[in-house]
Symmetry: D2
Amino acid sequence: MPIKRRSESGLPGGRHSLNMGGMEEAGSRNGRILVLYFSRDGHTKMMAALVAEGAGSVPLTEVRLKTVAEATAEDLSWCDGIAAGSPTHMGTIAWEMKQWWDETAQPLWPKVDGKIGCAFTSSGGLSGGGELTCLALQIVMMNYGMLVFGVPDYVAPGQTLHYGAVCAGRPRNEGDREACRRLGRRLCEWVQTLICHRPEYSPLKTSYSRFPPE
Amino acid sequence: MPIKRRSESGLPGGRHSLNMGGMEEAGSRNGRILVLYFSRDGHTKMMAALVAEGAGSVPLTEVRLKTVAEATAEDLSWCDGIAAGSPTHMGTIAWEMKQWWDETAQPLWPKVDGKIGCAFTSSGGLSGGGELTCLALQIVMMNYGMLVFGVPDYVAPGQTLHYGAVCAGRPRNEGDREACRRLGRRLCEWVQTLICHRPEYSPLKTSYSRFPPE
Amino acid sequence: MPIKRRSESGLPGGRHSLNMGGMEEAGSRNGRILVLYFSRDGHTKMMAALVAEGAGSVPLTEVRLKTVAEATAEDLSWCDGIAAGSPTHMGTIAWEMKQWWDETAQPLWPKVDGKIGCAFTSSGGLSGGGELTCLALQIVMMNYGMLVFGVPDYVAPGQTLHYGAVCAGRPRNEGDREACRRLGRRLCEWVQTLICHRPEYSPLKTSYSRFPPE
Amino acid sequence: MPIKRRSESGLPGGRHSLNMGGMEEAGSRNGRILVLYFSRDGHTKMMAALVAEGAGSVPLTEVRLKTVAEATAEDLSWCDGIAAGSPTHMGTIAWEMKQWWDETAQPLWPKVDGKIGCAFTSSGGLSGGGELTCLALQIVMMNYGMLVFGVPDYVAPGQTLHYGAVCAGRPRNEGDREACRRLGRRLCEWVQTLICHRPEYSPLKTSYSRFPPE
């Protein structure tokens, strides 16, 4: 095993400082959200902006919105929660997004355990692999020791985001847009509830309607 | 000679006859399709009928359409190809469908290798776990030694069935209906091409449009 | 206020009390762990006992160990975290376990959001679908709105539990046993850290070795 | 939809010739197997050689063994069956392998339908995501219209390859090595049976033992 975690854990400014943001004094500070994405045709980028908008709608939150070309390991270390978005290419994560997790983030494995993760994707069409791409992103984040989630809520009649937000192409209607926003908001609610110890932000206590009238 | 794994393998008319349909004289007989489904609310049943319709549109084909309550191990043994349909319940196969594979079909494991399988599902909403349910059904069929597939074709602009046919609720529009029919047809085309040795049925030689104009 | 989706939501002691355990006064009480399992051959039962042992090794913890025949919706409502275990049957969850989530737990959907979930399984052999079964259990729990996780730690050289604990048959060696214990312990650590607001329990601060020497 | 399949299908030397190998006169020629892999530490390379050895043990077979740096779209077009191997990186396909499918093979989508695919991987440890990586590779190949399979056989007591061959690190024992060989052999048997129309190669008629004595 090449991982030599224990030996470095006592070094000042070493591993320990990397995850301090996520764990130490989280009870008295803002929640920190990273929206990380890769976009080829601009569709996933549009989704990412909406996810960030949803996250930003929750008080006491800081949001960073970055492409895989912009985001560094420090961004991952900094955040409490991450929403990762990739186009669905051939039924799963685009290689450009995977490369970020394989290389850019790799030095942080497994030093970011306990962060909260979720996923979004733009696929070429309905039933075109979008759910599988979200699941693949969740699988990567679980590998890093994160806790991942989907959203039971319905954002429109017959439209949900149980394993992350999926659009066929770009977000085309209010349901698509709300799915992205809801994902960001839910991520933030879990960060506030679970990491920042503000249980009043639990989705079980929300004032908005999680389920539309039929 | 076939595997000698269980005591009955040497018995005339025993295990060997079970898979004869799928393998022996397939080159000179009709293709055999089983559409197997469980339906609680009637949505998956509507899909199953359409899948069977699509399968039946291919010449030299026999189709059996059965619920998990009706289908026996003999139905599985008989067929060359199977389309399995279940509602999406809690993100994966309904227990009633899983029970069929765990118990009814179990005596045939692994004596049905080489059959061709595909999946369909009705979920509560878009992005509600439908793709994951199709994948779970494919995982079960691969466990049995089958070869599984999805369909690259688009049945309407922005609508495909890359891992099986998925409807949110019942089939609501022509795209939904065509996704079901296309799945059954493709299953039949693979059975004709690969098992019945009629390469002229390959989807790569079809006269219908696999991709709609934009 | 909680969601007002069903008619019972306004009743005192109704839906609201069901999740109170998981969310309300969690900061000042014990963590609550449910180890839920189905076992046919006794292997998953052996694993479940070890998972419960691992969970019980963490202070300030209450553990319930129950089969799907014993566990009720109240057990799910009661717990902060759940470890669900099923044999790998045909590459995924045994129908008996799925039935529990489809029927017994169904009235709680989606009223248990934010609980923490993880999975374990006994499969017939290595590379026999064990990871896929853990993933399927995680998919079900995400459907319920839970946050799910795996464990990056290595429990022996070349042996981990990145998506849950997997044994080929019964637990056969110390690595197998430690994988089960570690899963229960990690579940408890996340419950303490994230739900009970005791950040000192974070796995990033553990005194035990998460990675064995080579 | 950018894909204009029908318009070019009649052009000599165009799309049609690309898949001719897989479909046209397959009944009277050798089966063609591509073993495609990416390897960082040499473990997956060792597995690939064994998969190729297993494929080559079947008569009337040609095998190409190539890295993702060497293999071109022509190799994919040429073959009847493909075994794709990648290390398990962060629980799924290494980006270098994904890049091949996203870019090198992309011009062939969806012109290679009906080829037969399977997967293998080297992961860092048991239960470390190896099955999930095989599944991800199968998902990519299904996206291309291929039929994918796993192997029910046991290669040693308690060791199988139900969703592809998985090694923890390099192949370490005879079970590991036989899993790789068996995968290549099975791929070849399906190509002979289903594409080359030689039903005597069906695994249901093999002379070797598919299941070891207990």
